[in-house]
């Protein structure tokens, strides 16, 4: 299976993250499974005219394209021309290239939230008029129309994340290679369910603090960051705390909030990223699938029941009070 990888208007961080794959590394895993880069801008030897020859051969149908992977959002500006990103050496915009190549590909993968939904490149006033490959924010229809389907019949597969976890990209490619990937394996926003069926909350080491709403008030405190510090791990999809990052990391393990980087429009939360919006002192935004009345009732109850150990640790920068140890009965 060949993969043509294009870097559109993004930061290149999803490729850098891909190189963090381990045991075995990204090259070993992909190569060993028969996934080859037809061309990748950071990794392949071909440059300049050699790349133009590959692109031309794909465009003319002389090379059958298995996967088109687009990293970064697609700039439509200025004034709909796409000239905020010209693919160097080609005199054509990336917008034009994506629209040309996507219909030729067996499958199209949007690697990262920029490519999926527009992402950070579309933040603020969206200066470059950037969109995702098949979405504009949460709305279907981006650089490619809402009804686009790759030759396989699948829509664009949104491997969203900022950056993407290396495992998400690799497993998507290997599932495609195995032929075991269907539309039903995607969530309603086109993300692979194998990671989008989890919440960042699952496996978060701050779960005990969450249970009691024992909250960190300032960054660097180890309590739950939902109440004050903008954490939306109970609403954001991702298996970040089930399979960690770079060894044993995740955002919440690193002491900072989940900002829902796998979701459309995460770049514009309409409040500071590290501050929870509140109405009358009550946080806006509920854990996914939780009825509001129950959440309020349980939160006030559990807050009242918070053991002193948990309350004190929540606002400390490290565990100050360890759990009480009850020795087994009997024995000496």
């Amino acid at each position: 299976m060949n993969v043509l990888w294009l870097q559109a208007a993004g930061c290149g961080g999803c490729t850098m993250s891909l190189l963090c794959a381990e045991d075995p590394d990204a090259f070993e895993t992909l190569g060993g499974a028969g996934v080859k880069f037809l061309w990748h801008p950071s990794l392949s030897v071909e440059t300049g005219t050699e790349v133009l020859a590959i692109l031309d051969a794909v465009a003319r149908g002389e090379i059958a394209l298995d996967v088109l992977a687009v990293e970064g959002s697609v700039a439509r500006g200025p004034r709909g021309t796409g000239r905020f990103q010209m693919l160097a050496g080609t005199g054509r915009s990336m917008l034009d290239w994506v629209r040309t190549l996507a219909p030729l590909a067996q499958n199209v993968i949007a690697v990262g939230t920029c490519a999926a939904y527009g992402g950070v490149t579309s933040a603020g006033g969206n200066p470059s008029d950037a969109v995702g490959v098949q979405y504009e924010g949460a709305h279907s229809g981006g650089a490619l129309p809402a009804d686009f389907r790759a030759r396989s019949g699948l829509p664009v597969i949104n491997v969203a994340g900022c950056p993407t976890h290396p495992g998400w990209v690799i497993e998507t490619l290997l599932l495609l290679k195995s032929g075991a990937f269907e539309t039903s394996d995607l969530d309603v926003l086109g993300r692979p369910l194998f990671y989008a069926q989890h919440l960042v909350h699952h496996g978060c080491p701050k779960n005990e603090f969450y249970e009691y709403k024992a909250s960190a008030v300032e960054l660097s405190e180890i309590g739950c960051m939902m109440e004050h510090l903008g954490c939306v791990g109970t609403q954001a999809v991702g298996d970040c705390n089930i399979r960690p990052w770079n060894g044993e990391g995740s955002c919440t393990r690193g002491g900072y909030p989940c900002i829902n980087c796998t979701g459309p429009e995460f770049e514009e939360p309409r409040h500071p990223f590290t501050e929870t919006p509140k109405i009358a002192g009550i946080p806006v935004g509920l854990p996914t699938d939780m009825p509001k009345a129950w959440f309020m009732a349980l939160a006030s109850l559990s807050k009242a029941a918070t053991p002193p150990r948990i309350a004190r640790n929540a606002v400390a920068s490290r565990v100050e009070v360890p759990p009480t140890i009850r020795k087994p009965r009997g024995g000496a």
């Binding site: 930061c11 950071s42 392949s44 660097s220």
Partner: protein, 475 residues
């Protein structure tokens, strides 16, 4: 008047981001070069009107390879506006996190971006070519694989202390969000020990201290061990020392600010050392698709020229220090820090830039080991601060590729202006109003172009010797 052939080299890959190089060839040599950064995203404009703290989330995402450098610059700029500095241990941890990224970038550059060009068929027949193919063929080479594995393992320090890489929120104006405990210290030291093992077995082929003790180019080319030995053999055979010579003018903002000074010093070098004065920094827009006047970044603006006027040829502004271009990067940093081997490469080309980077890998490893030893698991790693309603701040750091600055102005509690000058903005700047080319444009002049070459190999080596980061360049 002449039949000067013009070449457009692009897509220029194995650099971070988008790059297109236009060259004019005369008598088998590059007569002039114009460098185009063909991607504009407008990060500075996105930040206007936002809560200043949001810069800590948004600016790292300018770049997936220098992400932590952007974090640290934003944190420093906001800290300056708040009037706070990180706690001593918080600042040291931020420096360690930053150093891991910088070393990883140097490693990626050498193994994945720069060396694969020597495995090209154009060099078949050279005595070293077979070894270059075995070690450095893109994606497949054994050195490429080893470096990717070593880098991923080193980055466990980032998983532990920064949550993930790239794009962390762990680095804050007052320090870092996670305080390490005793076992974290042990883990960090273990990762560093493993990384030293890789460096000494594979890249350097000898104890790092021996490499750091080198003082002259003659001693360097006799090194003969590890992958560096292979590179030096190639460099001698291809005369890479004279290819793509620099101007001999260098700048460093100073890397890794600690309680008692920088890990690597700040300053300006032009035949001798002078203190860094950032008041002389301006950005010239004459050849950039940007509107406005030449200005210091504290008052400058970013307004794209949507008609992309013909007189301009890049989205990159042209930063100048006291009206002149200046080179930044690992070689600049090591020259300014006073290392004798680096100073012997004053004004150097491809070999000197790569040697500066390799020297810095070795020296940074020692720096990281020292910080790890000094971790105090009982210390405070972060203080809180308050943003002013009105104020300004500057964050000056050294990214892997050189001097990175953030200039922020805050009005009514919001970002009124945010200007960024990245390392490759300096190195790959277009011409200024005087017609003076940027450092890469100047370095390319005189590069040999073989008959029929469409993407000249000499241009490839020179461009990659700067290790450009194009996504940072325009941002």
């Amino acid at each position: 008047m002449t039949d000067t052939p013009r070449l457009v080299v692009g897509p220029f890959n194995r650099v971070e981001g988008d790059l297109e190089v236009h060259i004019e060839v005369n008598d088998g040599m590059v007569a002039s070069a114009r460098v185009n950064a063909p991607l504009y995203r407008g990060f500075e404009r996105m930040l206007e009107g936002k809560d200043p703290r949001d810069a800590l989330t948004i600016t790292p995402r300018i770049c997936g390879i220098c992400s932590i450098s952007q974090s640290v610059a934003a944190a420093r700029a906001l800290g300056a506006a708040m009037g706070i500095s990180p706690t001593p241990q918080g600042g040291a941890m931020a420096a360690l996190i930053h150093a891991v990224e910088n070393v990883s970038d140097h490693l990626t550059h050498f193994n994945l971006f720069f060396m694969p060009d020597f495995a090209r068929p154009v060099y078949a027949g050279r005595s070293w070519h077979g070894r270059a193919v075995e070690r450095f063929t893109a994606i497949e080479g054994s050195a490429v694989r080893q470096s990717v594995e070593a880098r991923a393992k080193l980055m466990h320090i980032l998983g532990l202390m920064a949550g993930k890489w790239p794009h962390t929120l762990a680095i804050q104006p007052g320090g870092v969000t996670r305080a390490p405990g005793p076992r974290d210290k042990i883990r960090i030291e273990t990762s560093l020990r493993a990384f030293r093992g890789y460096l000494e077995r594979v890249l350097f082929g000898a104890p790092l201290e021996e490499f750091i003790a080198l003082e002259t180019p003659e001693a360097l080319v006799r090194w003969g061990r590890g992958d560096i030995g292979l590179f030096l053999e190639i460099a001698q055979d291809l005369s890479l020392e004279s290819l793509g010579a620099g101007s001999g003018r260098y700048m460093s903002f100073g890397a890794y600010p600690l309680e008692n000074g920088h890990g690597f010093a700040s300053g300006i070098w032009e035949g001798g050392i002078a203190p860094l004065q950032t008041t002389g920094i301006t950005e010239d827009l004459s050849h950039a698709w940007m509107l406005g006047e030449t200005a210091h970044p504290m008052v400058g603006m970013t307004r794209p020229d949507e008609v992309m006027r013909d007189a301009a040829y890049s989205w990159c502004k042209a930063p100048r220090l006291d009206g002149r271009p200046i080179e930044v990067g690992a070689l600049a940093r090591q020259i300014i820090d006073g290392h004798p081997l680096a100073r012997s490469f004053d004004g150097a080309g491809v070999l000197g830039r790569v040697a500066g980077r390799l020297l810095e890998i070795a020296r940074t490893q020692l720096f990281m080991e020292q910080i790890a030893r000094d971790i105090d698991p009982a210390a405070r790693y972060m203080v809180q601060g308050k943003l002013p309603e009105h104020g300004q701040g500057v964050g000056l750091v050294e990214a892997a590729r050189g001097a990175l600055g953030h200039w922020v102005r805050i009005e009514r509690g919001r970002i009124a202006s945010y200007q960024i000058i990245a390392p490759t903005t300096w190195n790959f700047s277009p011409r200024d109003a005087q017609g003076t080319p940027g450092p890469l444009e100047a370095a390319l002049v005189g590069a040999p172009v073989g008959q029929g070459e469409t993407s000249p190999i000499s241009v490839q080596h020179i461009v990659r010797s700067f290790d450009p980061c194009m996504v940072c360049t325009v941002h």
